[in-house]
C-alpha cells in the first residue's frame, strides 16, 4: 500500500465559508426528489405515478436503454409530482415523505459470501447501482462492463469541500462491507483508494491505498486514475465516493435502501457553515432555513466549480456532498473601483494580474458569480496547463472537440477526462470559454460514435 502521489499542477481556490466541524440533523423536511438530470445521458422510464404510495427502496424509474439499472425512492411516502421540462423531459420526481420512514426489505447479506453476478443483481435491484460511475464518459457504470480497476475517492479537494475524514466518522463498518462488495465486483482487479496523507479514517482498510497530496484537482478520481492506472481506449474504470461505499455497505448489512449522507453547508452567504446528516434527494430548504444572509445569493448543489444551480427550495443532487451559497454578481463594476483597471486587492486570480497572489496562503476570498469579463477567442496560452495535472494537452483537446475531430479527440486523451477535470481550466480561462460544456459534448460525441 501507501503509494504516494504528489500533484503539482492545480490550485486551491480559497473561499470564505468553510464548514465548521459540527454535525447537525436539520429540521425535518418532508419533500424529497430524485432528479434524472443528475445522471448524464439517462432516459428515464417512469414506474411510479403521481399519487402512488412508495416505500423507501421502491423503484421510481429505470433506464430505458438498460432496464436493469433502477432508481429507487430514498424515503417512503406519496409521489407528489413529476416535474417536467421542455419536450416533457422529466426533471424531478418529488415524494412527499411519511413521518416515519418505511423501508422495503431487500434482506441483509454478506458481500464476501456472494458471487459477483449475484451481488451485481442485488445492487441493481436495490437501487444502489447508480452510485457507481464509470470512465470514460463519466456516466453511471454499465453493469455489463468489466472494469480494469475501481477507484474510491477518499477525499474531495474542490473549493470548500467537506472534510474526507469527518464525513466518514462512525461509518467504518459500513465502509468495510461496501469495500468488500466492490472487491467482489472487481473480480480480482485492483480496488484503489485515494486519501490525504494525514487521513485517519481509512486506517487498515483492505484496498490499495494511495496517499495523494497537492492542490485541487488532486481529489478528482480522473487525476488519480491518470497517475496510477491510466485509461486506454477500450478500457473501463469505475469510480465511487467513499460515503457511497459506506451506503452500499449499509444496504448490504441492513437490507434497507437508506441513503444517508453527511453534507457540508458552505459558502460566504451562509451564516454558520457546518455539516448536516441528510438523506439523498432531500429538500435543501430545511438546511438553508435562517442560514442564508440575503436575497443576493446563488445556491449550488455541489461545489462552486462543478455544482448545479438550484433554488433555495431545490434538492440535493445525487452525487453531491455539499451545498454552497455564494453572492450573485449581477452588479456592474466600475472600471477603476472594482473593474478591470482597479488595484484589485479583493480579487482572487490564479494569474498574477492582481496583487492578491502575494497575499498569505491563509487569506480567503469572497467571490461572486460575475463572469469578470466577456467571451473571447483563445488568446492567452499556458493557463490551462498550469491547473491540469494530466499528461494531456488540454487546449488542443478542447479545440479538437470544438471542430468535432473524433480521431484527434481519441489521440489527445478524451477517454481519460471528465468535465470536472476541466473545471479549474474553466475557472482560470481569460477568454471565459465554457470548457466543461465543451468536454461533455466531446464525450457525448465519442459515446454516440462507438455505441
Amino acid at each position: 500500500m501507501a503509494k504516494a502521489i504528489r500533484i503539482r499542477k492545480g490550485s486551491d481556490i480559497r473561499l470564505v465559508g468553510v464548514a465548521d466541524k459540527t454535525l447537525e440533523n436539520p429540521a425535518r423536511t418532508d419533500l424529497y426528489a430524485v432528479k434524472p438530470t443528475d445522471f448524464h445521458g439517462l432516459t428515464p422510464k417512469l414506474v411510479a405515478r403521481e399519487g402512488d404510495r412508495v416505500k423507501a427502496g421502491d423503484v421510481l424509474f429505470f433506464d430505458k436503454y438498460n432496464d436493469s439499472i433502477k432508481y429507487n425512492a430514498p424515503v417512503s411516502g406519496t409521489v407528489d409530482e413529476v416535474v417536467r421540462g421542455e419536450k416533457r423531459r422529466i426533471l424531478e420526481v418529488r415524494i412527499k415523505a411519511d413521518a416515519q420512514n418505511e423501508f422495503k426489505d431487500f434482506g441483509a447479506k454478506s458481500a464476501s459470501s456472494m458471487s459477483a453476478a449475484d451481488l451485481r443483481a442485488h445492487l441493481l435491484e436495490g437501487g444502489c447501482w447508480p452510485l457507481i460511475q464509470q470512465r470514460p464518459f463519466a456516466i453511471v457504470a454499465n453493469p455489463e462492463s468489466t472494469p480494469k480497476s475501481i477507484f474510491i475517492a477518499g477525499f474531495d479537494s474542490s473549493p470548500l469541500a467537506p472534510d474526507g475524514d469527518f464525513v466518514m466518522e462512525g461509518e467504518a463498518d459500513n465502509f468495510k462491507e461496501g469495500l468488500a462488495a466492490l472487491k467482489v465486483l472487481a473480480d480480482g482487479k485492483p480496488v484503489h483508494l485515494g486519501v490525504r496523507p494525514d487521513s485517519k479514517a481509512f486506517n487498515g482498510v483492505d484496498a490499495q491505498v494511495h496517499q495523494v497530496s497537492g492542490p485541487h484537482p488532486a481529489g478528482n478520481p480522473g487525476v488519480q486514475i491518470h497517475h496510477i492506472d491510466p485509461i486506454n481506449k477500450g478500457e473501463v474504470v469505475w469510480t465511487i465516493a467513499a460515503q457511497d461505499v459506506a451506503n452500499i455497505g449499509r444496504f448490504l448489512r441492513t437490507g434497507k435502501f437508506d441513503m444517508q449522507r453527511v453534507v457540508a453547508l458552505t459558502g460566504a452567504q451562509v451564516n454558520q457553515p457546518k455539516y448536516y446528516r441528510v438523506t439523498v434527494g432531500a429538500n435543501v430548504s430545511s438546511m438553508l432555513n435562517g442560514q442564508i444572509k440575503d436575497d443576493n445569493t446563488r445556491v449550488i448543489s455541489g461545489n462552486v466549480l462543478t455544482g448545479d444551480h438550484i433554488t433555495t427550495d431545490g434538492f440535493l443532487g445525487y452525487y453531491h456532498h455539499q451545498i454552497t451559497a455564494i453572492p450573485e454578481g449581477k452588479e456592474p463594476k466600475f472600471l477603476l473601483t472594482d473593474g478591470w483597471l482597479s488595484p484589485g486587492l479583493k480579487k482572487f486570480s490564479l494569474s498574477h494580474a492582481y496583487p492578491t497572489w502575494l497575499m498569505p496562503k491563509s487569506k480567503r476570498f469572497n467571490l461572486d458569480t460575475n463572469s469578470n469579463g466577456e467571451d473571447r477567442a483563445f488568446v492567452v496560452t499556458g493557463q490551462y496547463e498550469k491547473v491540469f495535472p494530466f499528461d494531456i494537452y488540454p487546449v488542443q483537446l478542447v479545440k479538437s472537440i470544438i471542430v468535432n475531430d473524433i480521431d484527434s479527440m481519441e489521440k489527445l486523451g478524451i477517454y481519460e477526462v471528465a468535465p470536472e477535470d476541466f473545471a479549474l481550466c474553466e475557472y482560470a480561462c481569460t477568454s471565459k470559454i465554457e470548457v466543461q460544456d465543451i468536454v461533455r459534448e466531446g464525450l457525448d460525441t465519442i459515446m454516440k460514435e462507438f455505441s
Binding site: N232, V304, I326, P332, F334, S351, D368, N370, G382
Partner: protein
Amino acid sequence: MKALHNFLEKKVKPNFVEGGKLSRFWVVYDSLETFAFTPGHVTKKGAHIRDSIDLKRTMFLVIVAMVPALLFGMWNVGHQYYLSIGEITTADPYSAMLWEKFQVGLVKTLPLIVVSYGVGLGIEFIFAGLRKHSINEGFLVSGMLIPLIMPVDVPLWMVAVATAFAVIIGKEVFGGTGMNILNVALTARAFLFFAYPKQMSGEIWIHDVAASATNGMLADGYTGATALGHLANTVGKPVDGEVAGSVMGMFGDAGMYSFMDSFLGLIPGCIGETSALAILIGAGILIWTGIGSWRIMLSFLIGGLAMGAIFNAFGANAYMTLPAVHQIVIGGFMFGMVFMATDPVTAAQTNTGKLIYGFFGGFFSIMIRVFNPAYPEGVMMAILFMNVMAPMIDHYVIQANIKRRMKRTALATAAA
C-alpha cells in the same frame, strides 16, 4: 458611480439597442460601456465563479509593461535630435535639457500613436459592426506596439496605411483577435519595409537629420544611420580594412554605439527599441504578472547569444566579430524578444514548443541580421518566420505526446 451607470442604462443605452436611433453604432456603445463597467454577466452553470482576470486586464498590463520603453523612447528622440545638431556634446549631455528633449519626442511620437490607434480601432469597429460581435481588446496592444517600432520621421500616412494593412490582412481576414497567424504589429512594420523600402531606409531614424543637413546645422560627421545600418556596411569587406575599422571603432568603449550606450538606449533606432534597460523593466513586469512567457524570452535570449557566439568563433567579417552580448542590445532584438515573440496568439502554444520557438527566433534574428545585410532588421524577419513555423512546432510536440500515449495503449493490450 451607480448614478452614472443608471444614466447610461436608462438614458443612453435605449438609443443604441435594436430599433433605437443609433442602433447601427451599438458596437461602439457596447464597447465603451463594457470598458467603463465590467458587465454584470453572471455564470450560468459549470464553474459558478470565474477568475478575476479578463482580456482587458491582460492587455492593459502589457501596455503598462511598454510604458518604460515608450517614455524612454520619447526622451531619446529628443536626445538624438540635439546630438545630431551638435547642441549637447558638452560634459553633461544627459541631465541637460531633460524636458526639451522629452518635448521633441512627445511632439513626434504622439501623432504616431494617435494615427495607429485611430486607424486600427476604426477598422476594428467596422469589422465588429459587420460581424455583430463585441470589440476585442487585442488592438490595444498592437496599437501601441506599432508606433514603438517605427522610425521617428516616418510619414503619418505611411503609418496609417501600414496599420490598416496589418489589421485587415494580418488579422481580420483570419477572423480577428486570437485567430491571426502573424504578429499584427510586425505585419505593419514588414509591410512598410517591403512596400516603401526607399522611405524606410536612410535618414529617418533621427528627427530632422535631412533638414538639419541642408540648413548646415548637422554636426560634423553625423550620418543618421542606425547601428545595424553601420554594421551592414562592413559585410563583404576585409576584417582589418578601413571600413571595418571605422565601424567597429563606433562599437568600442568610446564609440557612439558602445555597449553601455547601447544597453541604456542612447543610440538611434526605432522609437521604443533602443533601450535594453527600459525593455527589460517591461520584461520584468510581464514575467512578474505572468502575462508574458518567460520560456519564450529566455530561450530567445539564449538563441541569440548562441548564434552570436558562433559568429564570434568564425569571425569571417567585422560584423561577426561583434561580441554576442553586444549583438543582442542593438537593433530590435530585445524589443522583439519581450514584446513581439511573446505574443501568445502567434507564438507556439505548448510549453516545450515555446522553448523551441524562442530559441530559433533568437538564433535566426542574429543570423539574418549578419548574413543578409539587405535586411538589417533580422528580428522582424525571424519572428515573422517563426510565427509561421509555430503551428508546426506545436504539431510535433503534440505528436510526441500522442506517441507516448499510443505506446501505453500497446503495452496495455500486450499485457491483457
